[in-house]
């Protein structure tokens, strides 16, 4: 193992430029993932607080028979995506409107506001699709005058989140591909530079695993360094945004560690595959 670490250090010294490039591309790959998942993460927490208030409000036609209302309430309560259905009569609507609008409370007259059913969605069903379904069920009933819900901007937020996630994945994969190409090239160079040494190792009875080990250590080290660099850059980006625009959340430590681990995994796996290929071409 000591030998492997020594050889890996040597690889850095032999081709510092290519090594630095390998680390940087790994870092960029993870940075792309990191930045966009940070965006997604923050949108998600924004969504959650918004979604907590997601309600569908169905305004009822005046003088709707109590039976119809009770029937609808019961039916809606049975839906898995509905948490609670509440009947707000005209009186209550007025009280609530006055409370919400404070100084304008005098403009409301009793009977001016229609009664409504307030439908609260269960957690996990507060996305546009689920809301839409409930809305469809209610909208066409003859005694429902109008349905209102915060569909528009919830949908918008969802879309932004999906775009952010997709962009992160695509860019991350693109940079990962570049990282793979560069790591593979640097391993190819090292294998060629050390061809003589490797053939002697094999001659005196080194196992393939032993010959590969320094390359794996090298890949692991580059991956960890790349991961740490990505973490640092992501954190810097967040700090800049937090200072100048708006407060944003950072990853919890466990996710940050996972990012570094992903770098280590990427570095090690790419090295493993590519050293296998280049060694088998040797001989």
């Amino acid at each position: 193992m000591r030998l492997a670490v020594r050889e890996a250090m040597l690889a850095f010294r032999r081709s510092p430029l290519l090594s630095a490039l390998s680390v940087t591309t790994i870092a960029f790959s993870l940075l792309a993932f990191g930045l966009f998942s940070l965006v997604a993460l923050n949108i998600r927490s924004a969504l959650r607080s918004v979604e907590e208030r997601v309600e569908v409000r169905a305004f009822l036609v005046d003088n709707t028979p109590v039976d119809s209302i009770a029937g609808l309430m019961e039916e809606l309560s049975k839906r898995p995506e509905v948490q609670r259905v509440e009947y707000i009569d005209a009186e209550q609507a007025l009280v609530r409107a006055r409370a919400e609008l404070g100084e304008f409370k005098d403009v409301f007259e009793a009977g001016f506001l229609p009664a409504s059913l307030d439908i609260r969605m269960r957690e996990g069903f507060r996305d546009p699709a689920a809301v839409q379904q409930v809305v469809e069920q209610v909208r066409l009933l003859p005694f429902v005058e109008e349905v209102r819900y915060g569909a528009d901007w919830i949908e918008k937020l969802h879309r932004i989140r999906n775009i952010a996630t997709a962009t992160g994945v695509v860019l991350g994969i693109a940079f990962a591909a570049v990282a793979i190409i560069i790591i593979s090239a640097s391993i190819r160079m090292t294998v060629l530079a050390r061809a003589r040494e490797i053939s002697i190792m094999r001659l005196v009875g080194a196992t393939d695993a032993f010959v590969r080990r320094p390359f794996l250590v090298d890949g692991f080290v580059k991956g960890v360094l790349g991961g740490l660099l990505a973490l640092l850059l992501t954190w810097l980006a967040r700090t800049v945004v937090s200072k100048s625009f708006l407060e944003v959340d950072f990853f919890p430590p466990s996710i940050a560690m996972l990012g570094v681990a992903a770098g280590a995994l990427l570095g090690t796996m790419v090295s493993s595959v590519s050293v296998r290929r280049h060694l088998s071409r040797l001989k």
């Binding site: 030998l3 094999r202 001659l203 005196v204 009875g205 393939d208 032993f210």
Partner: protein
């Protein structure tokens, strides 16, 4: 020990290099492998250290059979052999003792054992005083001794030597050859390919002669028909 049984070797682009070769090398034997250039000597040796494999027929090194051997088992076979070449194959950027230690590190020798083992081996080949020199600071004969020391790190039962004196002058040749004789006297078998017929003539060792891929003469085995070589 080492046994070839009707071994054929066909290289992809050059055709048949070995044609029905059979022989047996016993424990502790010294064997010269002779024959003209391109006869197949190196090919025979490569098969022994499992760098090449027979196209037909089989051979045994100890209890290991080629070509049935699994790839992953080859390192274990090589640890029971020592191999030296005409061109020494030392690492130029390492000192003599580092070159020898390298072979020990590669087979995961505990690091506290490496130092003493290296100095014992260098003493054995008469190079203890040059331990910290680099290969380029040594004569050809000395470099070959380093290669021999390296080949001995695992206490092999056989030393494979492919023209070990091919790059050396007479004096160095005598010295290296004496070392090989000493190693053989201490119980290690030696299989040595050589063009040096004088060396062969002056020593009473067994001779295997190959020509165009065929074993044409075996001084240790009366059953092989002796043919005139052109």
């Amino acid at each position: 020990m080492i046994r070839f049984a009707n071994v054929y070797k066909e290289y992809p682009r050059t055709g048949l290099a070995l044609n029905d070769v059979s022989f047996l090398v016993n424990r502790g034997e010294f064997v010269f492998l002779t024959g003209p250039s391109g006869a197949g000597k190196s090919t025979i040796l490569k098969m022994i250290y499992m760098d090449e494999f027979p196209s037909r027929g089989a051979l045994w090194v100890g209890s290991t059979k080629s070509p049935d051997i699994k790839r992953s088992a080859i390192p274990q076979v090589r640890r029971k052999l020592g191999v030296v070449f005409q061109d020494f194959r030392l690492l130029e950027d390492r000192t003599i003792e580092q070159n020898v230690a390298f072979a020990l590190e590669v087979v995961d020798t505990p690091s506290d054992k490496i130092g003493t083992k290296v100095s014992r081996l260098l003493t054995r080949v008469g190079l203890a005083s040059k331990a910290t020199n680099y290969p380029r600071e040594l004569s050809g004969g000395e470099q070959q001794r380093v290669a021999i020391a390296r080949a001995l790190v695992n206490d092999p039962f056989v030393l494979i030597a492919d023209e070990p004196t091919g790059n050396l002058d007479d004096r160095a040749t005598r010295g290296v050859f004496q070392l090989l004789k000493d190693i053989n006297a201490s119980g290690t078998a030696v299989v040595m390919a050589t063009h040096n017929l004088e060396l062969v003539r002056r020593n009473e060792y067994r001779v295997l002669e190959v020509n165009r891929g065929q074993l044409v003469f075996d001084s240790g085995d009366a059953s092989v028909k002796v043919e005139a070589t052109p």
